[in-house]
Subunit: 442 residues, 2 copies
């Protein structure tokens, strides 16, 4: 018998735990107390927990999985979805920065971030690493919809959106740690933009702030051939070697993109335990290239998945990134077994959690972890019949199949609708801003 | 004033016509009489048609577009979704054929086809070219949900699912034309499986039947390197040259896949006006490769899009194929402008219709054409704001945004639900069959 009566029991689900043994339980469920999972059990054993439970959810016809983790995003850029098209990264960035400079302030950043987080939460993403200009507003937006977020001060040597200089950026990064110490729903980080936009000394200074607080460090890296040429020309080393040379790579580092790597750079990533955030949608659409994911996995590099911003990928669909992670590299390498479905699913669950140093709290359904959970509909015509649940999640189901989402046991999405926020108001506010956004690059 | 009062008026939509001028009308709509579009107009001019209309649909917040055309599918294979994984085409086919032989008969083929067509109609596909073992049941299934279908007798020299020999296949192909002559909702075809499974004489015989009836001819072609090696070894010519040598390529030919082509083969396709059905999802997942779509477009080859079957791609999401058509080749070629959004959208609208010889009846919103129409929701968080409607359709909206679908003016999907059929019964029947399907390859 359970020691305490649970607040919530979910039963009769196909449970994909993403635990160390990758257990799948057909017809099981979980018990939740005080926001944490207490038990993950088959039907027979779960029954004992049901009697005194505060709420029992019958998940027949649904699949229960951990909330997804997106390791690279700029949610606020959802304001600019579809605005700048058919340009390579470098030319594209010039136009993007023009639009951002004209439009973004703390208020509009918060608005765009709410839109971007709402989209993701509705798709079952419960934790996101987000790099944006106003990290306090990023946290406010994540809390408004009900997500965990890893974010913090950004570093960018040009004036950027808010024109803050280095000293102010350092102070902001420090302050972010002070303000979010001990928060369950924030994983504080320092996020310099890139090796081509932040000088080595400033990267080192950013890293020192992260290290002083036990925080994370995330940066764009090796996204395009032009970036490699730029950094190589300035510093005589490729991007990954440059970052390694300055002592910036370790298990608390998340490198967004890593499209263009040679074998030795892959070995450096494996040795340092730095995490790659693979962003296939953005990399394809901007013409950046196709990352060497099978080679990275074979070398033991930690690979996770990101959506990047909706300004490059045009939406924030982590399910599309998941599906591409499993199938793009099969096609690109002419190998039908290039990335397994389990490897792909790991990227958005347990590996994503580990990337944020949070594998003890999120990323799988296991006793003691936060009850961040997703219920996926299994009864829609595009996802019937079901033979293997992991294959099913990677290739057949998608964002629109997510029916219910729980964050620490609180239902934050019910039947496809956010519970904390009326998203219609956000949508109306974004649409009201749209003419000004369009004019910003005219 | 209109000459006759329309049966249906749809107003206040963002109208993407896909007509010859690619007109987009913000705040317009259509009038429909007797299943045909009579007018495509801006709001002010449409108002005159509204008064006496049988039904007026206010499409504010929605986008109106023509029904999509999928030029390569095996809908019945939806029964085997996710059953055979991580194998290259040739090994995969051996297992697939084993499962098909154990499970498929006219009744189960019809069941699987209903499932596959239901999935597609719900996503806004109103016309599909489908190659499967029992074409009569394919037509029945398409009619059951409310779609147009191009199908007909298949040719396959091995015994295949039903063990029919050549003479019987010829008779069946002939009979299909006789039975479907003059049907508005069927575009009759002859569909030999491939150059490696059908001998040249039999391909020529199949073609003769198609030609005698003015029908279409569709075949898998140049899908994998192994197929090229096989056909090259047998006949001393690559697949496209082999088909051209036997006079099988012309404007009534649809070639599924065409992944592996040299420059001269691309020139042959351009010269003969044969249509390519690009199937990016299947090609990636089976490790077949990445088709040279930008080169084909540049050479003037007619390129359309297909989903292939759910047994290879694991769903039948033409929106995913659309998005990949626009973005995959940017990444693979390091060119952010490799395929334009308009080129991609053309593939699933006017070019798809032309591939089936039906550009006078479907594929765009124009007076005189069938009122095959889709209303797409524009108010969901992943698809706000909207700057350019074509960009939006290709990169931001997807199958789950399709709210309403009309076939010849009849509403066949209403708020995401089929109107002709209760799909729950189909799903239950497929699930009841699933254990037997799993056992078929055990």
């Amino acid at each position: 018998m359970p020691r305490t009566e649970p607040d919530l029991v979910i039963k009769n689900a196909v449970v994909v735990t993403a635990d160390a043994r990758r257990r799948v339980i057909d017809g099981g469920g979980v018990a939740v107390s005080s926001g944490r999972i207490t038990d993950v059990l088959p039907a027979a054993e779960l029954a004992a927990h049901e009697a005194g439970a505060g709420r029992v959810v019958d998940a027949a016809g649904m699949l229960l999985m951990p909330g997804l983790v997106n390791t690279h995003c700029h949610a606020g850029d959802s304001l600019f979805r579809g605005l700048v098209e058919d340009l390579p990264l470098e030319a594209w960035l010039q136009t993007v920065w023009k639009a951002e400079a004209a439009i973004l302030n703390p208020e509009t950043s918060r608005l765009g971030s709410v839109l971007g987080f709402a989209e993701q939460l509705l798709s079952g993403v419960t934790t996101v690493m987000d790099m944006f200009w106003y990290p306090r507003e990023t946290v406010e937006a994540a809390r408004a919809v009900g997500m965990r977020v890893s974010t913090g001060g950004i570093f960018f040597d040009p004036p950027g959106v808010n024109g803050h200089g280095l000293e102010r950026r350092k102070a902001e990064a420090e302050r972010f740690f002070a303000e979010h110490a001990g928060a369950d729903d924030v994983f504080p980080a320092v996020l310099p933009h890139g090796a081509y936009t932040v000088a080595p000394d400033n990267l080192v200074a950013a890293r020192a702030i992260a290290d002083a607080h036990g925080g994370l460090f995330s940066i764009h890296a090796a996204e395009t051939l032009a970036e490699q040429a730029d950094v190589g020309g300035r510093y005589g080393r490729s991007v990954i070697r440059h970052l390694d040379h300055h002592g910036l790579l370790d298990a608390r580092t998340v490198l967004a993109h890593c499209v263009h790597l040679d074998d030795e750079e892959i070995a450096i990533l494996a040795r340092t335990r730095a995490v790659v955030s693979h962003n296939p949608v953005s990399n394809l659409k901007l013409g950046s290239g196709i990352a060497r994911v099978p080679d990275m996995l074979e070398a033991g590099v930690r690979v996770t998945l990101g959506t990047d911003g909706a300004i490059s990928g045009n939406d924030l669909d982590l399910w599309l990134a998941l599906r591409l992670a499993a199938m793009l590299h099969k096609g690109a390498n002419h190998r039908a077994d290039a990335v397994s479905t389990q490897q792909a699913l790991d990227m958005v669950t347990r590996e994503g959690a580990a990337a944020l140093g949070a594998e003890d709290r999120i990323g799988s359904l296991e006793p003691g972890k936060f009850a961040d959970m997703v219920l996926v509909d299994l009864k829609r015509p595009h996802a019937v019949p079901l033979f293997d649940p992991v294959t099913h999640l990677v290739y057949s189901t998608g964002r629109s199949d997510v029916r219910h989402v729980f964050l620490a046991g609180e239902q934050v999405v019910r039947d496809g609708v956010l519970t904390r926020l009326d998203i219609a108001e956000t949508i109306a506010a974004v649409e009201a801003l749209a003419p000004k956004i369009a004019a910003s690059i005219a």
